[in-house]
């Protein structure tokens, strides 16, 4: 019995949000090739009572409003790519992405709370939402400042053929 065939790829069955579910969610805004720098992408599709991303954003690019169960709405044109929301999100559901970082290369900055930490220059395996390794990635830098309260943010480039699939890396 191959478990994967039985696995409906729905969030509430597989544990990972599927691309289909993301594409049905208006608040999921994936920046296209026109963006010249990485901006925040929020994979928060359930109405849970939570708004630290809104309060953390220094430029007000994320809006939730009074009812804190409203899904966060990002305006990528305002977002400066500072990454504060990435560390502030209790659900670690935010990362920064840029589709055309370089020739055939996309860029991601994702939250990473494990040891050992990768280092700039490392070649790692980028992972999709199911924890499967999909392609190689090269670590640009790893940021761990007190402001991020012990959440490290790993910046890496990877093959832009996997632009939307990649969300994290396989742990070391």
């Amino acid at each position: 019995m191959s478990r994967r065939e039985h696995e409906e790829s729905r969030l509430k069955v597989s544990g990972a949000v599927s691309l289909a579910e993301l594409h049905q969610t208006a608040e999921y805004i994936l920046p296209d090739e026109r963006f010249s720098k990485p901006v925040a992408v929020i994979e928060c599709i359930e109405a849970i009572p939570c708004n630290p991303c809104e309060t953390a954003c220094p430029v007000g690019a994320i809006v939730i409003g009074d009812d804190i169960t409203t899904l966060p709405v990002i305006d990528p044109t305002i977002c400066t790519g500072c990454g504060i929301c990435v560390a502030a999100c209790p659900g670690l559901a935010i990362y920064l992405k840029q589709k055309n970082h370089g020739p055939g290369l996309s860029y991601i900055a994702f939250p990473y709370e494990y040891l050992p930490l990768p280092k700039a220059g490392d070649v790692v395996t980028m992972a999709n939402r199911y924890g499967e390794g999909v392609c190689a990635g090269s670590v640009v830098r790893v940021v761990k400042t007190t402001r991020f309260d012990r959440t490290a943010i790993v910046h890496a480039t990877y093959d832009s053929a996997f632009y939307e699939d990649v969300v994290n890396m396989v742990r070391l």
Binding site: G15, T55, Y130
Partner: protein, 367 residues
């Protein structure tokens, strides 16, 4: 037995008890805070993840840091704290029998008592469930986050609610491997953002599965998982074995009500909140005029709701001793009601919100 008098005695210094003590002390009341452990803070110091909610709830701050902040606040208010002190009983409405350091007894006559004794993990039973290596998810969380000791290296998590999924994530952070998370229901219970964290870390979920058996002689060696059909019956032949040395059970919690019910507080059954809970009004007052309840003891929710309920209980207990004028009291009371309602808003909080509303509205009937 030696007797001492206090205005407000808070039993339990977890998120609810700590906040109750702080709120009551800020209102001006004399507070004695009891805890049976050597260190206060209850589950806060096991919760190394960032909390949900809004800025009012200190969202985005890690549970253990909230614990440090609250302890500092309690210290600044020089709240009297008795650690290693077990509240063993409440007699004639307001006398608390306390055993200190397992050696001496003392009776504290309190004008108001706030019971914040939390909850205890539920069990599920399967052959081999008493083997060393099978434990509550909370026990594993205590071991890794407080004692910094790994209870095992290959873990099976039973239950996909927020506790099961968050503890799985924390086991990964601690260096263990989580082999699988099984969930008897057809869909997973925890927040999607939590399940996504562990799923992208490679942990598979098995919905509609449960543990048929744990194997091992002196310790867990493996677990046999089985697929369940639509009415939760095992499907013969669907069994498969996973090599694990630890099985964590995260199948909900039950309010620790022995003190409350032993003192005569009226119970009401509320499945959405974990079973039998003491009836209480919006100000967290139980059926007994001088006893208040707060946190998981009167409804299993989260540490953030426990903190808000604790503040409400502390505020109302102090006000019932005529601290704070009417205007100051009602302004603060409204604010705290808003805070706790915000945490129960949305689809995830609906069952709990309705359960709390029915308890509060039935308060008059039960008295």
């Amino acid at each position: 037995m030696k007797r001492v008098q206090r205005e407000i005695v808070v039993i339990g210094s977890g998120p609810a008890g700590l906040c109750a003590a702080i709120e009551a002390a800020q209102a001006g009341a004399g507070v004695l805070l009891l805890d049976e452990n050597a260190k206060p803070g209850g589950q806060l110091f096991k919760q190394i993840h960032k909390f949900f909610g809004s800025a009012d709830h200190r969202a985005g701050v890690r549970g253990l840091d909230i614990g440090v902040q609250l302890l500092k606040q309690a210290e600044d208010l020089n709240i009297e704290v008795w650690l290693n002190s077990e509240a063993c009983g409440i007699f004639d409405q307001n006398s608390v029998w306390v055993v200190r350091d397992k050696q001496h007894s003392i009776t504290v006559e309190a004008q108001r008592i706030i019971i914040a004794t939390g909850a205890v993990e539920n069990s599920i039973n399967f052959p081999g469930w008493t083997l060393p290596g099978v434990m509550g998810a909370g026990a594993a969380q205590t071991m890794i986050n407080v004692n910094r000791v790994l209870p095992g290296h290959r873990v099976l998590m039973v239950g996909s609610g927020n506790v099961g999924v968050i503890v799985s994530y924390q086991l990964l952070q601690a260096g263990a491997q989580v082999v699988a998370i099984v969930e008897a229901a057809p869909t997973l219970g925890g927040y999607g953002v939590h399940t996504a964290k562990v799923r992208r870390a490679g942990v598979p979920f098995y919905a509609s599965h449960t543990v048929k058996e744990a194997r091992g002689t002196d310790h867990v060696k493996s677990a046999v998982l089985v697929n369940l059909d639509s009415n939760w019956q095992p499907i013969d032949g669907s069994e498969f074995e996973v090599e694990v040395d630890t099985i964590c059970i995260a199948t909900g919690l039950t309010p620790a009500v022995e003190l409350a019910f032993g003192s005569g507080c009226t119970p009401v059954n509320s499945p959405a909140l974990g079973g039998l809970v003491p009836v209480h009004d919006a100000g967290m007052k139980s059926s007994n005029e001088s006893i208040y309840v707060a946190g998981d003891v009167c409804g299993v929710e989260e540490a953030s709701t426990a903190m808000e309920e604790g503040r409400i209980a502390g505020l109302c207990a102090a006000h019932s001793l005529s601290y704070l004028d009417e205007a100051a009291f009602s302004r603060r009371f409204e604010q705290l009601q808003h805070n706790v309602n915000a945490l129960r808003s949305g689809m995830f909080g609906q069952r709990r919100r309705e359960a709390k509303e029915s308890i509060v509205s039935s308060y008059g009937v039960h008295r």
